[in-house]
Amino acid sequence: MATINEIQDQIIDDFNLFDEWDEKYAYIIDLGKKLQGIDPKYKIEENIIKGCQSLVWMTSNYQDGIVHYQGESDAIIVKGLVALLLKVLSDQPAEDIAKSDMYFIDKIGMQQHLSMTRSNGLASMVKQMKMHALAYQSTQA
């Protein structure tokens, strides 16, 4: 299993192949379309990360020190960004997730989606995912 940073570096390498912004977005949109999404039974109020423009659902479970995330959005670019975050953080040890640094977002030119005016920007999604990891860690300790 690749580490969080190995996956981030791989994504950065992948994005370096794109010359134009629209190629990047086409790729993200494609990721969004392919993301399986969240089990409908988890599409509940408490799993919503509410934004001004779109909705994000995020849920997780924990097994043997590893956190598995599921996520989805009603907007496709956001869903693609969720897919990228899942790629990096899902199926990783809670401890690694909690102390991770999501440097790939900046390196692939998606920093504008970090917060912007949106409360469900990437920053709050990452924060939410880390909170899950921290919570699992504390149950372990």
Binding site: W21, D22, Y25, A26, I29, C52, Q53, S54, D74, A75, I76, I77, V78
Partner: protein, 419 residues
């Protein structure tokens, strides 16, 4: 007289010289993401002409002082500038007296002021407040808050699917129980121009007071508060090519006189003792504390600028832009236009069944095009239309058909990416 038409802004054939006008708005000459900026978010806030920026700078460079109290030259100059804007606003909306013009922070504060002062002293349990189905949250939340405090009831004037108020429903909704009717003049989401004169007459017929939210109307329509017979009319400077942080509340003198003050502090008092105080006269009674002097002073330059083109000319050109945009938009596969009232301003909302508005806005921004997406602070309206949000393009007199072409091309580019 600064209100005169500025022939410099016109071509010889009497049409607007848009290229010349755009020189007064230097912000428009920039690239966003490597593309020429296309600013179609004018219903959120308009850009400011150089004249406004220069007035603001000149005030701070030459005249800055606190107003009304100082016995020195700068204080007199600052006061004169501040009060000159009040006179300009009085003329702009044809108020009867300058004392009926209260400066606020914006439309929202104007509505809150009326709800907190007139509302608190005139409403009781069971009284009814009538709003329309297309109100901005600013003209809904203050009344909900008031209704919660007083146990008054909020009732809603319905509209049809095009976004036109059902005038035939006025008589059933507005009854002798109605104490206040507050309605938006022009819908920020739909662009509909509401028949507020008729509505105000209906309100008066049952003895109710009528307030109009003019935030979206003032940049497009000629406003005559006496002809409308509005009791209160609120708007913001920043949607009228003026600075942010300045609003106007017009109120009829008799109503304003009878209302208690909104906030206490300096400026709004006449005499203060340790035990009590007496309030200042209008309009100062409602202007507690040092106001936003510089922005109020600069606001006059915005009013003068609009006068220098003329509202009928502005409206005709903006309509040309709207018609052109609508003709291009309606040919796009899968689009649905939201807000198709016969009588409307240069605002067009639209949705796609298969493209989320946030996704569209991200791609449009990449193509240099600024539009607004979301619920536009009209969540009840979104519920009425069965939508979670729309994309909205809103045009001002400095926009061009070439910009609309760039906007339409950007939509096609987005469609290619998403479908």
């Amino acid at each position: 007289m600064t209100n005169a038409i500025n022939t410099d802004l016109f071509n010889l054939d009497g049409t607007l010289n848009i290229e010349r006008i755009r020189e007064d708005f230097p912000i428009l000459y920039q690239e966003v993401n490597g593309k020429p900026l296309v600013y179609f978010d004018n219903a959120a806030t308009t850009q400011k002409p150089l004249q406004v920026v220069e007035a603001l700078t000149a005030y701070y460079l030459n005249d800055n002082a606190n107003i009304h109290r100082g016995i020195h030259t700068l204080a007199e100059r600052a006061t004169a500038g501040f009060e000159a804007t009040r006179d300009a606003v009085k003329t702009f909306i044809n108020a009867n007296e300058r004392e009926e013009i209260i400066f606020t922070r914006g439309t929202t504060e104007g509505i809150n002021l009326v709800a907190a002062t007139w509302g608190a002293t005139n409403l009781k349990e069971g009284d009814e407040i009538v709003l329309s189905a297309m109100e901005h949250h600013s003209n809904m939340v203050p009344w909900h808050m008031l209704a919660q405090r007083t146990k008054a009831v909020v009732k809603i004037l319905p509209m049809n699917d095009a976004g036109e108020l059902l005038t035939e429903a006025f008589d059933t909704i507005i009854t002798p129980k109605t104490k206040l009717v507050s309605c938006v003049h022009v819908s920020n989401t739909l662009g509909s121009i509401n028949p507020v004169k008729e509505l105000i007459a209906k309100a008066h017929a049952v003895g109710a007071v009528a307030m109009i939210d003019g935030a979206q109307a003032v940049s497009h329509l000629d406003i005559d508060v006496q002809d409308l017979n509005a009791d209160f009319y609120a708007f913001s400077a920043h949607k009228l090519y003026g600075p942010t942080g300045v609003g106007v509340l017009y109120g009829k003198r008799a109503l304003l006189e009878a209302m208690p003050p909104y906030q206490g502090g300096g400026e709004m008092i006449s005499d203060v003792s340790y035990e009590s105080c007496t309030y200042n006269e209008l309009p100062y009674k409602f202007e507690a504390g040092t106001p936003n002097i510089a922005d109020v002073v600069a606001f006059k330059a915005a009013i003068d600028y609009v006068h220098s083109i003329g509202k009928p000319t502005i409206r005709a050109y903006e309509h040309e832009l709207l018609d052109y945009a609508v003709s291009k938009l309606k040919d796009i596969e899968g689009i649905r236009l939201i807000g198709t009232a016969k009588n409307k301003v240069s605002v067009q909302s639209f949705v796609f069944s298969d493209i989320h508005h946030q996704d569209l806005a991200i791609i449009l921004d990449k193509e240099g095009v600024a539009i607004r997406t979301g619920h536009h602070c009209t969540q009840p309206l979104m519920g009425r239309l069965g939508l979670t949000g729309t994309s909205r393009a809103s045009f001002a007199f400095y926009n061009t058909k070439e910009e609309i072409d760039q906007f339409i091309a950007a939509i096609y580019k987005a469609i290619k990416l998403f479908r």
